[in-house]
Point group: D2
Chain length 351, copies 4
């Protein structure tokens, strides 16, 4: 019988905190042992989220965010708080020695200046950046396993990087002129009270936002540049979907040489054959966000548009699970010596 | 190490078949060993439902519905086919000795005449009715455990019967004048191509249907009559919600005597305290369909309307999981000697 | 050539203010001449609501709410503000002599004590209650035409009262034991920033709220009592639909005597034959909220449930147009001597 | 008093036929005088579409499609039928002399070979192609006014062409490397019974389809080539939105020279200042599909992405009104000598 690992969670009132609480109810080796939220402190978790009633963790009392107290009660600490709070909490947590998975953007960009430029707040914990590992398991599993501070990737970067990885690695596309037209469900906008995300403002409508200036751009460019072996500048453009969950990234890239779709498809299948979560669709198949709902899957569809010389890659994830809390849990698994997919093998909820 | 139980599924192209395939991927003791569908025979399951790719069962080849072949390959057989086909398949299955959970209405009504009247088709297997057990685990767990043919309850009846059970049992309400105003997500209408269930016919709209004449009425009356100890006639009225999953039954019943809400609430909590799935909300709480999405939970909210002398019971389930395939799996668990909630302890997907 | 009437609107940031601005763009005899909003003052209307750009009124500059200034610039003044502000603005408007249509509940209940009890705020302008006319055109057209202060009905009351009117008038149902199970789109909850009405909290879900204690209850009872000729106490129970617009009231009432559906249906057709907006569906027909979207129509479907001795009336309206701003405009039409449906003859937007 | 013009409509069971019937109820100078549908012949229009009850045209009896009979009863004939039927009906209509607006693709492509290649059916009426005018009023108003056969544009082409027009005309962008990432509501998929457009297959999900090979591609290229003065090959890629109505085209084009956003924006405003329907949003503004719901508006938002040297044009329309039936009515207006926007000045329904 294995000992149960204890997980702490700071930040509970948003969708990523809720999602992590959901996923931990089903984890066979890790349980929620500490949960904190400034706004909800004092409540039972099951009263705060009736969805979790009669499930493991429902009786936990939500605490004030106190990192020392948290560290004493957990083996790994998840931070689901704003960027600036995350910097401080992460520093405190590292000081008392507890392992941290940070779901904010605080430690994702290796270049602190770039962070300050895109996020328009100072980076108060630059020294920790060297220590932080970018938590995309398919790319950095070994480093994550040895890390004590993991920067959990953004939702759009997860879909974009996984979508581009094989095509760049095998040299099918150039790194110039890449356009990512991305669409996200409304849970990506968070759970704070605001008119633009009211039901009647989002439902039965569709719009773009932050074209060419979304803060996930430098994160995508950082990782794609590493894959391409040279600095890459690309065009990233998000849109808001009237769905709860799901990201669909339609990626346009120029073909290099004259590969056939058979070759491109076979290389993708080969590339991801050992991944538990990246699923390359059959030739001609196109992914749907519902097919990954609630899971860690990244579904990839490939279209060779010979008329215009482009490879069109559709990469689809669940923004809350794969794009945030599920990936955080996968990182925690690796950090704790568990299989990466421990507790994360759900089937999509469809319909 | 326990031996793995083998499940067969006949009928795969509808939402209940899909849901059963989904749930079986996560079952620790039972695996899908045989899947049949007239329209999809010959395909890999993972090709038919890309959502299931890279999950257990994805490589299964869909067969023609052949009960003898099925029986040879499974310990329990699920029938997710129309009522008339279910009668014949169930009879064949019983003849070759395999245990059956039938998701159709073929064996739900103990009175075959009532079946023929409400369903407007002949009942060709009346003899099997005596053998069939109504598969509502909270009421009939022991009988189900000993059964070889279980009639899986309808979705509306599941929500309605569980909602009314405690209030009738403890005598808080009369059995006269009960009105059930029920609302169901569109998956309840099935997956056949039809104009009235097209996206643009259902989305952003709401309507009633089959008021006073829905075929789940006699099923509800049958069970409520047993609970009340006398024949009950009630008013059951369904509506179509623009959501994928979820049933919300708003049940209006006249108060007997003058119980307080405290008394009613306490009795409900007591009644369901050992149930893994029935959750009585705190006093004043009202359930939401999203809080049970994808699960076996039945959430119950109680309102005492003293002005009009009524108890208003809101009873909420997921029509596909609790109201069909999940309940079928719970029944199979009992029939196979497993804990009723084996493989069915998921947290709701919310949002 | 007729002179153009000038309409003033105080309160613009909510959905009822938006809807009134929308409807006035298409009115052939009335134009928006004054628009005020504390939070949006100083903006062009077309900048505040891009949907209205290039339409009549788009160039209007939004003002601070100043009733004297408003009165100087309009023939009729619409108040789309909270109840307490409405009392004061209405009093000011009456003092300077301008006709008022108040969309709040401030003047709907003839009994100020009842108002204070249900709304939990003091009624500061009781003297005006005698002057106020309840603005349901089908019932009170003459009084409205002579009024200077019209209390615009609530959305649920509009659907409920119109639904019950003919059946009570012709004596087909008793006034005891009436239950109204009502469902409303999310625009009924208003446009203020709040977590419970965020997209991800409402979408793909369904729930009841304020069962037995919604503030529209006394308003419905007031009018139904007048119709029945005796005090009526009924059970009114609202639910939240994941749609933008639309109310569906399912009304359960006990049959008096033994009328046939033919008789009941014929009486309803007769009752509403001269109404431009109340549409009695063919026998067996049931209404859908989409069929009234954006319009003044009230669609009524009749079901005689002989098994349980009840008439089930489905009454459907658009809560923003018929249930608020469109009805306000109809009242203004009558007050200004125009045909009641002037500028209000749109076809539903479907799908 | 003007004489009323009579409109005929062949094809009524789809969304474009329904939309035309809706729009004609509000037209001050044209009324529906003949409606035909093979599947619905014999019914009253108001019984077929309860949304239209008590509106002009509701009492019309739906006929069999007989062009001679139609011609005798109308001044202009709308064809809302499949491509191949449209060819024959259009030829018959021209033979008997009635003016035709064809909503199918039969006469949109000037090159019949291209039609046959993309649509995979023979073009049986090539001679009529010379006579047909492409019915985009902003580009071809004069030709349309003189035409007797108008090919009504496709929905995606309408959004794409209007979006690209000014930027190409003023030389801000090159015609190489244009990518159109388009998203459409489900009404664009039509109203035939089919599993992929069922509510539960579309709701709360998102997917691409026909990437690089949608049949609207040659139509867009035809018109953009004319604008660019040289053959243009572009990448057109559609996606399916879980909304009823609305197209959002995100258009990526390479900047020529080094114009500022001020210059680009000012040129667009100038270009469209006299158009009743094209609305250029303020600098920094991005369009939303709900802001054009049910109308003829085309909302355009401009983003200059200097980092990647691209102009990103968001062009938004209602696919059923502007992208089909409303545009057909605008064309009929021009053909009949009416102002282009006669009966088409509605405000968007929002929310």
């Amino acid at each position: 019988m294995h000992e149960e690992l204890r997980a702490g969670l700071v930040g509970l009132s948003g969708y990523t905190g809720m999602e992590l609480a959901r996923l931990l109810t089903a984890h066979p080796r890790m349980r929620l042992s500490f949960a904190a939220s400034r706004s909800e402190a004092g409540k039972r978790l099951g009263d705060q989220y009736p969805a979790l009633e009669k499930l493991p963790g429902a009786d936990l009392i939500i605490r004030q965010p106190d990192i020392t107290q948290a560290a004493a009660q957990c083996d790994v600490l998840f931070l689901a708080v704003p960027h600036d709070a995350a910097m401080e909490f992460a520093a405190e947590a590292r000081a008392v020695g507890v392992a941290v998975v940070d779901l904010s953007a605080a430690f994702r960009l290796r270049d602190a200046d770039s962070f300050e430029q895109w996020y328009a707040i100072p980076h108060s914990r630059r020294a920790l950046l060297k220590e932080a590992v970018y938590g995309l398991p398919e790319l950095y599993a070994d480093a994550i396993a040895g890390a004590r501070l993991v920067a959990n990737p953004g939702c759009y970067p997860t879909a974009s990087i996984l979508g581009l990885y094989a095509a760049l690695k095998y040299g099918f596309i150039g790194s110039e002129d890449i356009i990512i037209d991305a669409k996200s469900g409304a849970s990506g906008a968070g759970r704070k009270a605001a008119v633009p995300t009211l039901f009647c403002e989002v439902h039965d409508s569709f719009r773009a936002y932050n074209l060419g200036k979304h803060r996930h751009t430098p994160e995508i460019e950082q990782e794609v540049s590493l894959m391409a072996g040279a600095p890459v500048r690309l065009s990233f453009n998000p849109h808001l979907l009237p769905v709860d969950r799901g990201i669909h990234a339609t990626i346009y890239a120029k073909i290099k040489g004259s590969p056939t779709l058979d070759e491109i498809h076979a290389a993708h299948v080969e590339c991801w054959k050992n991944s538990p979560w990246v699923r390359v669709l059959p030739k001609g198949g196109l992914p749907e966000t519902r097919n990954v709902r609630g899971t860690m899957f990244c579904d990839i569809g490939l279209t060779l548009d010979s008329r215009t010389g482009r490879l069109i890659i559709c990469s689809v994830i669940d923004n809350l699970c794969r794009g945030a809390s599920g990936q955080a849990l996968a990182n925690a698994n690796l950090m704790c010596g568990l299989p990466v997919d421990c507790g994360l093998a759900q089937a999509p909820l469809m319909p």
